[in-house]
Amino acid sequence: MSTTIDARGLSCPQPVLMFMDATKSSADKEFIVLVDSDASMENVSRAAESKNCTVTVTRQADEYRLDIVRPL
């Protein structure tokens, strides 16, 4: 199972806060984070990588999808 976080339209630090909260409240290993700015994409990636997650970023038109996998 994965948790999807729709942070489109939200500016920093909201996307990072939402991702961090989700990692605490969910036992899921995979997270999908949707953002619509480069700054949010970079901020969430940085936060995830600081928690040793792997991050795969896909640009879809003007938006980004981040597939984040937590370490075991």
């Binding site: 339209g9 939200l10 500016s11 630090p13 909201q14 806060l17 961090m20 700015s37 970079e42």
Partner: protein, 361 residues
Amino acid sequence: MVKNFFSTRKGIITVGAVIGILAPLLQKLGNPGNMGICVACFGRDIAGGLGLHRADVVQYLRPEIIGFVLGSLAAALIFKDYRARTGSAPFVRFILGVFAMIGALVFLGCPWRALLRLSGGDWNAILGLAGLICGIWIGTLFLKNGYNLGRTQKTHFSAGLLMPLVMAGFLILMLIYPQVAQEPKSGVLFYSVKGPGASHAPLFIAIGSGLIIGFIAQRSRFCTMGAFRDLILFKQVHLLSGVIALIAAALVMNLILGQFHMGFEKQPVAHNLHIWNFIGMALAGLAFALAGGCPGRQIFLSGEGDGDAAVFVFGMITGSAFAHNFGLASSPAGLGPHGMAAVAAGFAACLFIGFTMRKTI
């Protein structure tokens, strides 16, 4: 995908260092003391240049600010990072901008200037920075408790161009009505013949520096408020490393240029009322945290299509007009006659916003 160099640790340090090098140089070339760049002071000078307030010592359409917006626009367009957007509680952001400016003008500087004052040896900046961090910390408490101003909406490509066009218009006005020596007015624009507004680097150097900083700051997301917010909220030091680089580079530059003068007394465009340096910046820090960016960052965002950030910037410009029309701004002589009341009103407004604007998203 090409990695954005400026979003890396080395990148943000580079940007902080470039600002730290250019600001003291701009001071050497004519900008006011420890004010190579100050987004609050320069916004206030722009308000004066347009006649929105009539404090005759602070009137000048600062080209650095124009450069910031246009440089950010260029970077956003080149790197496909331009997104026209608006609609996340714009009037709330306007009010936050007003009180952010009033708080900053009680201290006499934005966070950038606080860093530059510190690197010029003005120890009063320590109180300002402590207040700034305290205000940001209060802001993080609201953020942890669900404070947010809601989502933006995509809007017309051209809507995001309005702020850069306004700034381009200001530049055109400066070219049509250039400063005339010892004259307080040129065409529709007001100029200072004495005081900080009369101290400025040559126009094209100022705008060139602004363009460079705007370009690289847009790419790096350099933000002084975010530096402390991310440290408090996430224990992240990414943005903070840029702030430290700015201080270090500016300190070295000030030592080289002979602009480093240690002490609390007789510092340029500063007062040494410690409590009010702290409280003024605490108000500004809280307003920046609630709005999601320091004044510099808001200006860069306004260049990349963020209409809400543009509203915040014009809130700041309006706030500076209130500050000087109502006697709220400090001066080297001390507080303005109504500065304390304005700070109290500002905290009341920010707390109202922080406590009431929460929702589950």
